[in-house]
């Protein structure tokens, strides 16, 4: 068990830090709230800078234009970019972390040559068309139909929770090509150009007030048959391949961001008057915030364990589910502590009194935390995974 960095890892960190120091001051101002075209420009502009500096596709194999970094280096990359306040992956999320790696693993040489370089250069934004109104946790029950018509598929159906659909160039789409086969065996993974006729995107507003997600209505959208990645009716396996790439790094930025939120809450407690002293002098407040800090530190140790496991065995196994369950519970407690501390300052998302020393938005973060036990596998599904795969308990049916 070694936590110290190798000389190579130290050099990687130093070079990255130098580059971030030189680059971040040259970034344009952040886009305004809800301006998705500006957000696209900002995020893809960051991707282009990463590309020019050799940091694009950090975990992708070098043969597909990536950096081929080790999981440890990827952890360092995420740690340094978060600590420097660099932009998040944003609009590039699906392209660089899901669709791109899937095409790298399962695409033909032509598909790789066509789709991968523009992703790395920040030229194309991708979205994900997996979930449907009737297919959430039970994704394999999806019903969006694709009917073969000569050298095209004609696709009709409805998708939901499609991030950045309003500014995407391509969609990684799961469609039902064989309605008579068992549900996992009649699904196909296909690339849908977002400028195809018949696509209607309707943004959805989440309870935090922003509209990153959309509903997507598909009405006889014609997609070339050559856009299928993998074989027809083999799409479930193709979609699952990406989960095998999970290297325990999915929540690194989240976790480090939460450590900043916690430090900010401690500062707020120290300057919040309470009974002639401050909230921090209240043993109950101190104990709660301290316990949350201990949880976050422990989850950082678990992240290093998961990343090390991925480096040795290719993926982090169920470590990701373990992490998510621990993390969302801590964030819920952190939200409760934040609201208690804010008192009536919780009545607005913005912080007119300047209570937060780091200018962090604790109200928004408290509400956002509600999504952590829903998105990317609900807490209930994650508990099934831990119970069945880690503990070996029998399935319900």
């Amino acid at each position: 068990m070694r936590l110290q960095e190798t000389p190579d890892e130290r050099r990687f960190r130093r070079e990255l830090r130098d580059w971030l120091d030189a680059t971040l001051p040259t970034l344009p101002p952040e886009p305004p709230f809800e301006d998705w075209a500006a957000k696209r420009d900002y995020d893809t502009g960051w991707q282009r800078r990463l590309y020019d500096a050799g940091y694009a596709g950090i975990s992708w194999p070098t043969e597909y234009g990536g950096r081929g970094a080790t999981p440890s280096e990827e952890l360092i990359f995420l740690e340094e970019t978060e600590r420097a306040g660099a932009p998040y992956v944003g609009c590039n999320f699906v392209a660089t972390l899901h669709a791109g790696p899937t095409i790298a693993a399962e695409g033909t040489p032509e598909q790789r040559a066509r789709y991968l370089p523009p992703i790395l250069r920040g030229e194309h934004v991708w979205c994900q068309g997996f979930s449907e109104p009737g297919s959430g946790s039970d994704l394999a029950s999806l019903r969006t139909r694709a009917v073969r018509d000569d050298d095209h598929y004609v696709v009709t159906g409805q998708k939901i929770w499609t991030s950045h659909a309003q500014v995407a160039d391509y969609c990684e789409l799961l469609v039902r090509t064989d309605p008579d086969a068992p549900k996992h065996r009649g699904i196909t993974w296909i690339v849908m150009p977002m400028d195809s006729p018949g696509i209607e995107v309707r943004p959805m507003r989440t309870l935090t007030g922003e509209s990153e997600f959309s509903e997507m209505f598909l009405d006889e959208v014609r997609i070339p048959a050559g856009n299928v990645v993998g074989a027809e009716n083999d799409g479930w396996r193709v979609a699952m391949v990406t989960f095998g790439f999970e290297r325990g790094t999915a929540f690194v930025s989240e976790l480090l961001g939460s450590m900043r939120l916690l430090a900010d809450l401690v500062d707020i407690a120290r300057k919040t008057p309470q009974g002639g002293a401050t909230a921090w002098d209240d043993a109950a407040v101190r104990s709660e915030l301290t316990t949350i800090a201990a949880d976050l530190d422990a989850q950082w140790a678990l992240t290093k364990r998961n990343v090390s496991r991925a480096a040795r065995h290719g993926n982090a196994g169920v470590g990701g589910s373990v992490f998510k369950l621990a993390y969302h519970e801590t964030r819920e407690r952190m939200g409760e502590a934040a609201l208690r501390l804010l008192g009536r300052a919780r009545l607005a998302f913005d912080d007119p009194t300047g209570l937060s020393p780091r200018h962090l938005d604790h109200v928004e973060q408290t509400l956002y935390a509600l999504s952590l036990s829903i998105a990317a596998g609900t807490a209930q599904i994650q508990r099934n995974i831990v119970g069945e795969r880690l503990l070996g308990l029998p399935k319900e049916r």
Binding site: M1, R2, V266, S287, A294, A301, R305, N384, L393, E396
Partner: protein, 329 residues
């Protein structure tokens, strides 16, 4: 970075796990309650023979020469088997002996059973009738006394395998270290108590999981019901997180040098807190999943639960860790 246990570490842990599974069965563990002070001196020497107490003593001083990270693996196994006795005291006693406290020279071989207790009155001394020496840790320093005498034994100790004597005051004893030594002992004790609790928690989940697979109600194993499965999953998540935290803290302490880095101290306090909560959750879950039988004396679930409670309040207590981590925030 490679935060997976090495092959050597896995072998060390595996050897001890097999030994304990064979040697400390449920029946053997309960039988220890009838021995003076609830310490099996034969087992103590056998554990010493495996290098348990001299694990971090330098090889030049006759020890195994490993680090505290390795010790967290060993203590997880001791916790999993719920071995009765002053494990942390004897381990730290062997370290003190290597640093020149001759009276504790037999700790490394298991011949001298060393107790460990926080300073203060009244004193609640664990395993008093088995002790050859008692290390007392206060803020101002560390003192060493002989076997405590004159205390009143508790008729009904919380953990039947951890008998306690209550003394109005501890003997003055001989000073064997100042505030820095006290701080170091407290830090190591906190880490090892956390490691023991990880083991207790892991055993509690394993025991409850085995029951949930076997126990049939409504025509199927109760572990197939999500209401039960999710309790166990949450308990297991606690174990996994706490284990990573405790082991990382051990590595940080080993890396931090003699003084210990601020990061290492923060890691220990945090791991202590997290391990305590993991043990609490897992051992309670173990009782719950066993239903009515979980509430009986006959099942071992209560022994795990009670040992976890005992470990919260020794030298390196959870409360002290909360205070120390709060001061570091």
């Amino acid at each position: 970075m490679d935060f997976e246990p090495s092959d050597d570490q896995l072998a060390l842990q595996g050897e001890l796990r097999r030994f304990l599974a064979d040697r400390v069965t449920s029946e053997a563990r309960r039988a220890v309650a009838d021995l003076p002070g609830a310490v099996d001196r034969d087992l103590w020497r056998e554990l010493a023979g495996l290098g348990t107490f001299a694990l971090t003593v330098p090889e030049a001083a006759g020890g195994v020469g490993l680090g505290l990270a390795d010790a967290t693996l060993v203590f997880e196994e001791l916790g999993r088997a719920a071995v009765p006795g002053p494990l942390i005291g004897t381990f730290l006693g062997a370290g003190l002996a290597a640093a020149g406290v001759d009276a504790l020279a037999g700790a490394a071989t298991g011949d001298v059973v060393v107790g460990l207790t926080p300073a203060g009155a009244p004193a609640w001394v664990e395993h008093a009738d088995a002790l050859d020496a008692l290390v007392v840790v206060g803020d101002g320093g560390v003192t060493l006394t002989g076997p405590p005498t004159g205390g009143r034994p508790a008729a009904r100790p919380l953990d039947p395998l951890t008998p306690v004597h209550v003394l109005d005051a501890l003997p003055a004893g001989e000073p064997v270290g100042g505030p820095l030594a006290a701080h170091r002992l407290r830090t190591a004790a906190a880490l090892l108590a956390g490691a023991l609790q990880v083991g207790l928690a892991a055993e509690a989940v394993a025991m409850a999981t085995a029951h949930a697979r076997d126990r049939i109600q409504f025509g199927r194993p109760i572990g197939s019901f999500q209401a039960v499965k999710h309790l166990l999953a949450d308990a297991q998540v606690g174990v996994e997180v706490a284990r990573a935290a405790v082991q990382a803290a051990g590595v940080e302490l080993d890396d931090g040098g003699d003084e210990g880095s601020p990061a290492a101290h923060r890691a220990v306090e945090g791991a202590r807190i997290v391990a305590s909560r993991a043990a609490d959750r897992a051992t309670r879950t173990c009782v719950q999943v066993h239903g009515g039988m979980g509430f009986t004396w006959d099942l071992d679930a209560h022994l795990l639960l009670k040992r976890a409670m005992v470990l919260d309040v020794g030298v390196g207590s959870v409360e002290a860790s909360v205070a120390a981590l709060a001061a570091a925030l």
